[in-house]
Amino acid sequence: MKLSRIWPGLVVLALLLAGLEAAVNAGLIRRALMPAPSAIAPVLWGLLESGEVLEPLFATLRLVFAGFAIGSVLGIAVGLAMGWFPAAFRLLEPLVELLRPIPKAALVPALMLFLGIGETMKITSVSLAVLFPVLVNTLQGVRGVDRVMLDAARTHGWGPAHTLLHLVLPAALPFILAGMRISLGLALVLAVLAEMLTGQGGLGFLILDMQRSFLIRQMYAWLVILAVVGLALNGLFLFVERRALHWQPALRP
């Protein structure tokens, strides 16, 4: 995005912060609930400058990336299998449909039981959150591959494996990536939630811990960091997606 396109939004954002500042200073909002932005900014700066931000940030990011990678790979693999092989679809569909709607947060106790309280549990719960949207989207993408394209491959003598790899996978890629983008957001949510439930570091733990200790300014500072992280992750993904899907109508130069 060019600067000229985003400056109006930045102005609104600045105005909003200024309004908040004024409201807090005028006593319209209780400082105990919402400190003035000018009071949060130094805390935020302190976290950044001292490098204190790095360790929890990396803890959360590691969790997000590990869970995201595992969940995506699994989701794509199972989705491709279910979409391409009717037998796999019949076998797995009811299970998927039943597991899919369970709030992953509700599974955390069961996961703790089977996987303990460490990284494994957290990564698993993140992976689970990532798995289903990717799976469902992949499945839909595979089933949506144009019949004409598939027939073209057949009339040119392509075998099933070659077709799966060189036709079905790229054709389904827009769907797969859309699912992955949704999942990336969910991965962050679940990572934060898992950290809140079994805190030993990470942004989620810190936000909850700051709140419990009534360090409200610190809490907001970490929240801002979290928002920026989310924004950056999404931006990064969009960038990758644009590269991978340069041929899609909406993305054509």
């Binding site: 309280i117 439930l197 079994t198 805190g199 811990d209 419990r212």
Partner: protein, 297 residues
């Protein structure tokens, strides 16, 4: 008859038995008060709810209350709620796996101990026990594990020790008695009869409607009397089972706290010393200024 409504934030633990007794026995109604309890499962939302005006009274562990006070929040104690016993059994216990060789804080150095959260009363008492039994608390890693999962985590070897509170102590012994054991009594070994939890309200509310809180205190304290008179009576356990949903057979194994009516500056000062020692430094106001008249008994 027009009842004054009070919304009280509670946690489904043994400590709030007097409040429920007072409700059930009609002591609040007799004072013209209708109590609406809101059960949350951690102090984390109770105190913020109090600040935000959602509740008039909040039950919370003392450490969290004092941390809020440190940050300039005007919490005032309106009644005592629970204290540890002078001698075992405590309402807290440090547990470890049988045959693990862990018996003291010294043994825990370089190991992992579970607490439900950091920087609350359970953790504070646990760390005090570590130090008292010869360990350097800086060298013990605290892992946050929700109470319900602690016994499994301990039995599964995922942590080396855990600080549990009742009724989870009884629960852990009932289900994992063959593998787990109690190795410490964090309150009676470090601060016998030490404070545990209180009821607080906001200063402004108290200034504006002090009379309502007088009535609240009177009714609550009648509940305390009711409970204290039945510490060995099955009806108390039935009451607790009713609001906490803990099976009654488990409650029979549980150690109950002491139910005081008041809060003393002394117990708070003792706690503050301990809090500052374990890293919760800062400036706290004089504790006597924090106690509302209903708790000054």
């Amino acid at each position: 008859q027009n009842l004054t409504k009070l919304r009280v934030s509670v946690i489904p633990v043994l400590d709030v038995a007097p409040l429920h007794a007072a409700i059930r026995e009609g002591y609040f109604a007799a004072e013209g008060i209708e109590i609406d309890t809101s059960t949350t499962t951690g102090g984390a939302t109770g105190l913020p709810g109090l600040i935000a005006g959602q509740f008039q009274v909040t039950f919370s562990n003392t450490v969290s209350i004092l941390l809020g006070v440190r940050e300039g929040l005007d919490f005032r104690f309106v009644s005592g709620a629970s204290r540890g016993a002078m001698t075992p059994p405590d309402i807290f216990a440090v547990m470890a796996k049988k045959g693990s060789g862990i018996r003291s804080g010294k043994d825990l150095e370089g190991k992992r101990i579970a607490s439900n959260t950091r920087n609350n009363i359970v953790w504070l008492r646990g760390m005090a026990w570590v130090e008292k039994t010869g360990g350097d608390w800086h060298r013990v890693t605290t892992v946050e594990v929700p109470f319900p999962q602690m016994a499994d985590a301990l039995a599964g070897g995922r942590i080396d020790a855990a600080i549990l509170s009742e009724p989870f102590v009884a629960g852990a012994l009932a289900t994992h008695g063959d593998t787990l054991e109690r190795i410490g009594w964090p309150i009676s070994e470090t601060a016998p009869g030490g404070t545990n939890a209180q009821y607080v309200a906001m200063k402004d509310e108290l200034n504006a409607h002090g009379e309502v809180f007088d009535r609240f205190g009177r009714a609550l304290h009648r509940g305390v009397d009711w409970v204290n008179a039945r510490l060995t009576d099955p009806v108390l356990l039935e009451l607790i089972a009713g609001f906490s949903r803990v099976p009654i057979e488990r409650l029979r194994q549980v150690a109950l706290p002491a139910y005081p009516k008041g809060v003393t500056p002394g117990e708070l000062d003792d706690l503050l010393v301990s809090m500052k020692h374990f890293g919760m430094t800062g400036t706290y106001p004089a504790t006597s200024s924090l106690i509302f008249r209903t708790a000054a008994v």
